[in-house]
Each structure stands twice: as structure tokens, then as C-alpha cells.
Symmetry: C2
Subunit: 424 residues, 2 copies
């Protein structure tokens, strides 16, 4: 049998790499960005759109699908792929973050979670075994172990006990998983924002020899430097030979930094959610299409983009659709933003295969941060996809530092000569 | 120069016919259904969707576009076709109905209309000349003369004076129109619900020798029999050699009756609006996808349909999307409903070319009215597209009679032997 993950290129001056992950529903290339389809639908686009955008894999959510319409129902209809009309790879988040977000409505014990449904108050018990069972019913190509998302801030003791709980759950998840199904199981490293706990969590998880691993518990409101430092600690220990998924990140800069630190897979609600709010990503920064400067602008949203939206429509038209609350707007804006994110990771992969990743990294960020788009007028929030699909609450947004030198770039890190960070 | 309208087939036992209309942006076949794109967008679908659905022509609205984003702006961006990314024929409604719907906010005189913008209260004067000017700026392949929509109910005197006003405006519209532009101008016959006024309006309008004609002022809340009777009076007098547009109708049965009475073109918000409310048209009647019976139904919405929605998705999935308020739902439901309407008129055309229209008419309605769909639980409203795109108000809906014998089918009308109306 072919290995599930093939490493195809390594950047000589960072931990970045390119590879291919094989699943029951075909392969996808890494670095990969997974559009978020929480409730078996990437908001405002259909499965054909996703194929045209070149999405290699789509993310959905165990917790939400378990409650509505129900995993047994989806299974009886032939599984999640048939249900949502998507025949490519699917990864399902475990539901740990969603239960975490229920706050007063849940109880966490070593056994598992007890919570009341945010839909109708029904009481549920949910443990690592049931999380695997539900994801098996869905037919997820990549299942995630149930984890406890360590809150931010948390004391060292809290972070350690949470990490221990998650490790125990990962062991139970592995025991509940039947590798013969062909469905893969990924473990989630936690550890809060303590480097040694992050490293320990990743190392002990790696001992389970799962098909892949994720770093979770990030983008919870912590400063960007703290986030990247924690990500580096996890990614630095997770094995080279397995795909590494950095959960819930992020801005284009976050994704490039995640790639630089060795992550292969990403997901975030930012491109889809921001699209619905009128915020478009372009190669020269973000634009708020509601801005009156676009009233008579005949250009496509992003002159460097070849998506359905940019091929056919002007900024003036999109602004009109947004102003008139036309339901076509979310569709076109989502298509463009997802195309931007797919182009971002495709460009990174291409540069890795060509041995030019850090050059791509620098050029992309120079153009993006130094560009003429209107974004600075309204600083965006860094939003984790897990935040985006919380069960009840949306965590407070925080402004994204612009032109900031990544904290994880500490003295001693090897950089190609001449690389200067925009605004750094 | 080729004639703008070619008649290709006539039904021997009714006034139904098939033809082709040539415009600056290509030809379309009749009978034709025009999806309604009031604000330069058919709600929830894009221009490629419309092409794939086989829509030959799209309708937009002069009044709304004049106010937002403005006709001069659209003109400066290259016209309405480029603005909305649709390179096929476009017809624009004149705006008469929208001003009519402003009620207390407008004043109608022989000169024209004065009204306050429902967007921001700005005062506007709008007459037949400006209506032609605005539509020329938009670049509408088919412009509609400004008309006064006679209210329902109206006295004979009101209907007559309104009709006279509309005729005078049609003359002024013709004088303001430059045929050298290649844009066509259609007149609108009114006359309320008085047969003789309907006939006089149509006859006098025909004297202007315009490229096409419409019957307006229908579907304002009058009983279906009254509506079909008025439509028959107008259509019976409008010339054979020109395309005839029956404005704002209607249900599938309304459209088949309109074709039977000699109409070539239709528009209605029903397929698009009902889609957004969860109501799907099928060959066996309408279904309310919210119904719990579809919870685990693996069938496509309409087993006889080949649209993007029916090819890829189940009733269970659509019900889930609707229940979760997913923005993909309006898109998929709209695509299906528009496909249903396009199939309806395409089928009518095919049957006309084969000389079997009344057979098609009967078979379609038998299946549609006698089918197993769940619709009767919730009687639908007959909604005119003009109602749908009123400036301020939505007129009260009324239930659609089911299995009703068309009133316009009076003794003396020639019918193929053996035709029995379902439920009639």
C-alpha cells in the first residue's frame, strides 16, 4: 500500500515543505487550505464551485452534523460525501472546540463531555469513542481525535491537566478507530501557550503513531507572537513523516508563517465569513467593497485573479450587489476569497517545488502589506475557524498587526540573505 | 435586414405559436420565460447559471436601476450587459408599475410621474421620454414604454382615462426612441378588466407599429378567470406579426394558458421568490422542502429534472440547508425552479413545432395538478413579477385555484376532441 503522505520538497532555509496526502477519496497536495463547510456546506458555494476553485479537501464539523441533521441520517443517505455532493477528501473537526464554546452548558470529565444541545437543549454525552463513531458514520477521510481546547489565558496547571486529558482521549480514540476502514485519524496537540507543554504534548502524541497530527488551541485571542511561538513549538516536534495540520489559522500572513514553521494543512472561516461582510482579499491587501471609491470602478476585485468573479464582474457591480443586499453577492465574494486562499497555498507549493519558498513568502507579503488596498481603515480580526464554528459564542476579535516581524523568527533562525520583512 | 420576429409554428386549435425574436445581443426562441433580475441580478444565481439553464433573455428593471446605482453610472461602465456579466438579450420593464406602487409618494399627470425615491426621499420627475432615455443608457435590447398600471378594482372611467394616458405616453415614447440604435421598443396595452377597453387599447397601440407589444395590468389581485379573460382580450387584438409579452404571469398553469391565448414572452418572480421560501416546482406539483417528510428523502427535488441541483443533491440535503439557513439553499432552489420554468416553455415550444401543443398542455397540467407533491397543504399566491418588484409594497397574495377550468375557455373555443381538464 502506498504511504498516506509523501514528502515532495523541503525548503532549505525554513521548515516549509510540499507533499501529497492520499485518502479514500483521492489525493490532495500540500500545503493545502481547506474551505470550511461546517454544516455540510461551504457557505454560499456549491461542490462544483469548490472543484473549480481547485480545493483539494474540504472541512466539515462533527459536532454540528451530529446534532443536525444527525450522523445516522447522513450515514443512511450514503455518507457525508454523497450528502453534500462532494466526492473529494473531507476532514471533520472533532467537535471538541464546539463543546468547549458551550461554556455553562457543558461538563468536562476524564470520561468525556456532557452538554446540552444549543439547538433544543437535549442532553448529550460525548466522548472520544463516540467522536470516532460519528466520524466513521459520516465517512470522513480524515477524522480528528476529540480534544479539550485549553482556554486562553490558562494557568500552567490548567494547561497541563487539559493536555493530559486530551492525550488520554487520543489513546482512546486510537483504540476506537478501525484503520481497516481506510479512514485516517489525526491527533491534536495542545499545551496552551507553554513551550515545554506544547513540545511534550506533540512528542507523546507522536508516540501513538497516528496517520497525521494537528496543532490545536491557537487563535483564541492571544497575541500573534504568542500564537506563532506555540505553533512553532508543536510543529517542531510533530514527526516529519506525517502531515501536520495547523488548526483554525488564519490571515494570509498566518498561513505563510504556518507553512514556514512546517504546517501542511490549514482551515479558516476568514475567506468565507469576510466575503459575506464585504471584505475581499487581493494581492495588494484587503478591500472593503462597501467603500464608495469602488462605486464606478470597472476593474475586477483582484486584477491578478482568474476566478469566476474576477473574470466576469467589476468592483462597481459587486459594490452594487452588496449595497442592495443581493444574494448573489455572498456567492461571488466567497468564490473570489476562496480562490485567493487557494492561489496562496498553490503559489507556496509551487515555490517549494522550485526551491524558492522564502522568496515567495517575502514577495507575497511585501505586495500584500505594502499594497494600495483600503484595508487599514478598518483593522480585521484574526479569527480561527474553530471560533467561526463555535456552538454558541463568537470570541472577541482582535486587530491583526500589519507589517509585523513574526515573533517566531528569533535570532538563530536561518534566513536567506537579503530577506527583509516589510515594515519589520 | 432580417425581421425582428419570425413565426415558426402555430397551434391549429388555439392561438399558441412558436417563434424567434432577434435582438442586438442575439436571438431567443419563444415561448420564452424571462428570469427576473430586478436590480441587475437574478437573485442568488450568476450569469453562467442563467446560460446553463438555457434562459434566452433576462428581465431587469428601469426604475430600480435608475435609482441604484444609476443609469448614467451603468452606461459609463459599458452598459447593463457588461455590468451584470450577461451577454444575451435583456428586456427592461419601464418602471411604471414601480411608481404606481409608491401610492402616496407619487403624483401622476399627463406630463408624467413625480415621485420621491423610496431609497432616500429624493424627488424625481419621470416621463415617457426619460424612460426611453434611461433604457437607452442601459442598452436594453427590449425597452418598455412607460405605462400607468390601472389599479384593480377601478371604475370604467378610471380604466379608460388610465388607458388613454398610457396610449399618449406610448406615442411620446415612440417619438423619443431612436430605432437606429437597434434597441427595440415594446408598447403596453392596458384597459383594466373591461374587454372593450382592452381591445381598444391593443388596437390603438398596434397602430403605432412598434416592434412588439405587451399586455400589462394583470395579476393585481383579480380572480384568475378575470385575469385570463382580460389577457385574451388584449392578446386577441395585438398583431400576429409581432412578439406578444404577457407581463408578470405567473403559475405554470398561467403560463400555459398565456401561451394558449397567444402570448410569446413571460416573466414572473414566482420561481425565484418561491425558491427562497423553500417552495420547489416539480412535474407533479409544488413541494415545500421544509416538510418533515423530506428529512431522509434521497431523491432529487424533481426526478424528471436535469438541473445542477437535481443532478447532485437530495431533498434531504436541501431540507437540511433550508433548516440551517445555509446561503447555498437559495442558490440551489432558484436554479431548480428556473430550470423548471425553462423546461416548461421549452416543452411548449417543442410541442408547438411538433403540432401537439394542446396535448402537451393537457398532459403537463394533469401531472402537475394530479401529482403527489405536498403543495395543497399550503395554497400558493399568484404573484406578478411587477408585484414582486414594486417600489414599496407587496400586494396581498391570493390562493391559486387548483384544477380549475380556465375561464377564458368559453363555449365556442375550438378544442381538440377528448381534452378534459383535470378536476374541471
Amino acid at each position: 500500500m502506498e504511504p498516506a503522505f509523501t514528502l515532495e520538497a523541503r525548503d532549505p532555509s525554513s521548515r516549509a515543505r510540499a507533499g501529497t496526502v492520499r485518502t479514500l477519496h483521492g489525493s490532495f497536495h500540500t500545503p493545502a487550505f481547506m474551505p470550511v463547510g461546517t454544516r455540510a456546506s461551504v457557505k454560499a458555494v456549491d461542490a462544483r464551485d469548490l472543484r473549480e476553485l481547485g480545493a483539494g479537501i474540504v472541512l466539515s464539523n462533527t459536532f454540528h452534523l451530529m446534532l443536525r441533521p444527525g450522523a445516522e441520517l447522513i450515514s443512511s443517505l450514503g455518507g457525508l460525501h454523497r450528502f453534500m455532493g462532494w466526492d473529494g477528501p473531507i476532514l471533520t473537526d472533532s467537535g471538541g472546540f464546539q463543546v468547549y464554546s458551550l461554556a455553562g452548558l457543558r461538563k468536562i470529565s476524564e470520561e468525556g463531555l456532557e452538554f446540552r444541545s444549543p439547538y433544543d437543549g437535549t442532553r448529550f454525552a460525548f466522548g472520544p469513542e463516540r467522536a470516532v463513531e460519528v466520524q466513521t458514520l459520516l465517512g470522513s477521510d480524515i477524522m480528528m481525535c476529540l480534544d479539550e481546547c485549553t482556554p486562553y489565558p490558562a494557568t500552567r496547571e490548567e494547561a497541563e491537566s487539559s493536555m493530559t486529558l486530551t492525550l488520554g482521549w487520543a489513546e482512546r480514540s486510537k483504540a476506537a478507530w478501525d484503520p481497516a476502514t481506510g479512514l485516517m485519524l489525526f491527533g491534536i496537540a495542545q499545551g496552551g501557550f507553554h513551550r515545554d507543554l506544547r513540545e511534550r504534548s506533540a512528542a507523546e502524541l507522536a508516540g501513538l503513531d497516528l496517520p497525521g497530527y494537528a496543532a490545536g488551541g491557537l487563535a483564541l485571542g492571544e497575541p500573534r507572537e504568542v500564537m506563532l511561538d506555540a505553533a512553532e513549538a508543536s510543529l517542531g516536534v510533530l514527526p516529519e513523516s506525517k502531515p501536520r495540520y495547523l488548526m483554525g489559522l488564519g490571515t494570509p500572513a498566518d498561513i505563510l508563517d504556518g507553512i514556514r514553521l512546517g504546517a501542511d494543512m490549514f482551515d479558516c472561516v476568514m475567506p468565507t465569513r469576510n466575503a459575506r461582510n464585504g471584505q475581499l482579499f487581493t494581492r495588494t491587501g484587503r478591500m472593503n467593497i462597501r467603500n464608495s471609491r469602488y462605486r464606478d470602478d470597472p476593474q475586477p476585485p483582484d486584477t491578478g485573479c482568474g476566478c469566476l468573479c474576477c473574470r466576469n464582474y467589476s468592483r462597481a457591480y459587486l459594490r452594487h450587489l452588496q449595497a442592495q443586499n443581493e444574494p448573489l453577492f455572498p456567492r461571488l465574494a466567497t468564490i473570489h476569497n476562496l480562490a485567493f486562499y487557494q492561489d496562496l497555498v498553490r503559489g507556496a507549493r509551487k515555490s517549494l517545488l522550485a526551491g524558492e519558498f522564502m522568496c515567495y513568502y517575502k514577495q507575497f507579503l511585501d505586495a500584500y502589506r505594502g499594497g494600495t488596498a483600503d484595508w487599514p481603515a478598518r483593522p480585521p480580526a484574526a479569527v480561527s475557524s474553530r471560533q467561526g464554528i463555535s456552538a454558541l459564542t463568537i470570541l472577541a476579535p482582535r486587530p491583526e498587526p500589519r507589517g509585523h516581524r513574526p515573533a517566531a523568527l528569533r535570532p538563530g533562525t536561518a534566513w536567506p540573505q537579503g530577506v527583509v520583512f516589510a515594515g519589520g
